[in-house]
Symmetry: C2
């Protein structure tokens, strides 16, 4: 039996929950969870905001731990290996996307917390491909958020061939944004942070921002018009997107990794005139996760976390709901 | 004096108009116009739809002709050389965009018909860089539309690294779209034409379409969901853009070269889920125009045109206004 924390209904408190996971799949590994980050998506799923949650619901998709069991066909992992398990627990491995190295774009992905029990427990399972080995240089106690927040902001740098000569921006400096600043600075870019809280300027600069712009000040946004090659939006609220498109240089890209529910009204001439682009992307492939981990190890990039014991999971969720996470919460055993 | 056709006010009939162009600029050439295509932008400018028209207004930005005068500093062109003059008559040549080969993204471009007299006349002037030599294999009488319509649809294939293995689509088969179909088929792609007039199916296939989809049939659009890597929209009306984004494959791009005035409402999750992109671009650089002309010559790609004598310019404009151009109108002396 796996001991976990589950909600029985939308928005309910998590309670101790034990379940029999059945026989281990031939291509699966079972990971003993050492720690698990809490992502805003865990809250969205808990509250059934996207209408796809199944109860009892076990959240957690930023888990780090040690492989304690291997499916009979698993040859790419070994017992005792420390790995991370992120948003995806499985992909088909046989479609064009998987065969092209874009496993995260596979239409048959199994998300770790959608119709599957996640990492808020003592064990979690996934396809071996998606249990990504953690380099020994990285701190197992805080690395969890790299497997969702980290890969989400790192992957676009790879996908869109961002270069060290590019001038880049990050909109929203929370769990995702504080990692984006670190990655982009290490990437060699000149980095602008757009934050609604300019009091954090010194902190944002210590994370890698060269410039800080008050995202609530229309004049400040105007002042950076035409100055950025790439803007990464990590927020899930509607902003004045036209102002951010105007902040792009020719051939610039505004890229969304945060899900904004309201449609973004795009002025076609605003894109066409200077060849600008709008896009979005979900997480990253296993190969890109491994690249990210090596890059993080090389550049000493780590999530800034606040730890809660698993027994205080409800307190931790309440902390996140109040917007008090600085910058990512982690549950530990 | 240059003999031209000009409108004195928004939407007015064109009348004979002669003007003194003054001394030829040091970096300019003067081209004796042999023929000039009529683009929908000529109508938009004539009607002052974009609020930037200056009167008397001389339209025409798809001119082909022969260089009859060279500015004192011009060394890259010669007298008697046959060239085309498109949307741009000048760029600064010194900014980062020009120095990077992206002259069409220069913020100092001079458009041929904005505050400048265009090609509806016996002569037209432009900076020598923007008078692009016409390969002798191309028919001077019909090549004009390549310099606006042609480069507008060819340039994205270059900019976004469209590959022969890509499945591509064209929305709207008019002056731009009929050239896009030819370029894409010659590019090696599997091509889908989205047309509101499925009666044209045989004609669209002869232009290069492998498949024809009725753009007014929601069920037909649904049937192609997830099937295209690249969709080029040439229309200037609002369509069900969400359906076109859904027609994209993972990593697919919906690209606008037609100016749609109503904002396009973009569902961020629809982009993010499968890493899709929305973008726009204006025309192309001199180097890309030259590439396009070589490619057109190699593949025997030509605009399909209907010719009117310059003396019937108003009849030609009326023909275009009625939506009767198949596919591009050309004025000839």
């Amino acid at each position: 039996m796996i001991q976990a924390y589950a909600a029985e209904a939308a928005g309910a408190e998590l309670k101790s929950f034990s379940y029999d996971p059945g026989p281990l799949g031939q291509d699966e590994v079972e990971v003993e969870v050492e720690s698990c980050g809490i992502c805003h998506s865990d809250l969205s799923m808990l509250d059934n905001e996207w209408g796809i949650t199944q109860y009892p619901f076990v959240a957690g998709h930023e888990a780090v731990g040690v492989i304690r069991a291997l499916g009979s066909h698993v040859s790419d992992r070994h017992l005792g290996q420390r790995v991370g398990v992120g948003w995806y627990a499985r992909s088909c491995l046989t479609c064009e996307q998987c065969l092209s190295g874009d496993h995260n774009l596979c239409s048959q992905t199994q998300a770790t917390i959608v119709g599957h029990f996640g990492g808020f427990g003592d064990r979690v399972r996934c396809q071996s491909t998606w249990a990504i080995p953690l380099p020994p240089e990285l701190d197992a106690a805080t690395a969890g958020p790299l497997f969702c927040g980290g890969i989400t902001v790192f992957n676009p740098l790879v996908q869109f061939d961002i270069r060290p000569t590019h001038r880049v921006g990050v909109v929203g400096v929370g769990g995702l944004g504080h990692l984006a600043l670190q990655f982009m600075a290490a990437w060699g870019c000149e980095v602008t942070a757009f934050s609604s809280n300019p009091d954090k300027t010194d902190e944002l600069k210590s994370l890698g921002a060269d410039h800080v712009v008050n995202s609530r000040d229309p004049e400040a946004l105007k002042a950076v018009a035409g100055s950025l090659d790439f803007i990464l939006s990590t927020v899930n609220v509607s902003l004045d997107w036209t102002a951010y498109i105007q902040a792009l240089r020719p051939k610039g890209r505004l890229h969304f990794v945060g899900v904004v529910l309201e449609p973004v009204p795009v002025n076609v001439f605003g894109l066409l005139d200077r060849q600008k682009t709008l896009s979005g992307s979900p997480l990253g492939s296993p190969a890109t996760v491994a690249q990210m981990l090596r890059f993080a190890a090389h550049h000493s990039i780590a999530p800034i976390t606040q730890a809660f014991p698993f027994s205080q999971v409800n307190e931790a969720l309440a902390h996140l709901r109040r917007g008090q996470a600085r910058y990512r919460l982690i549950l530990t055993h």
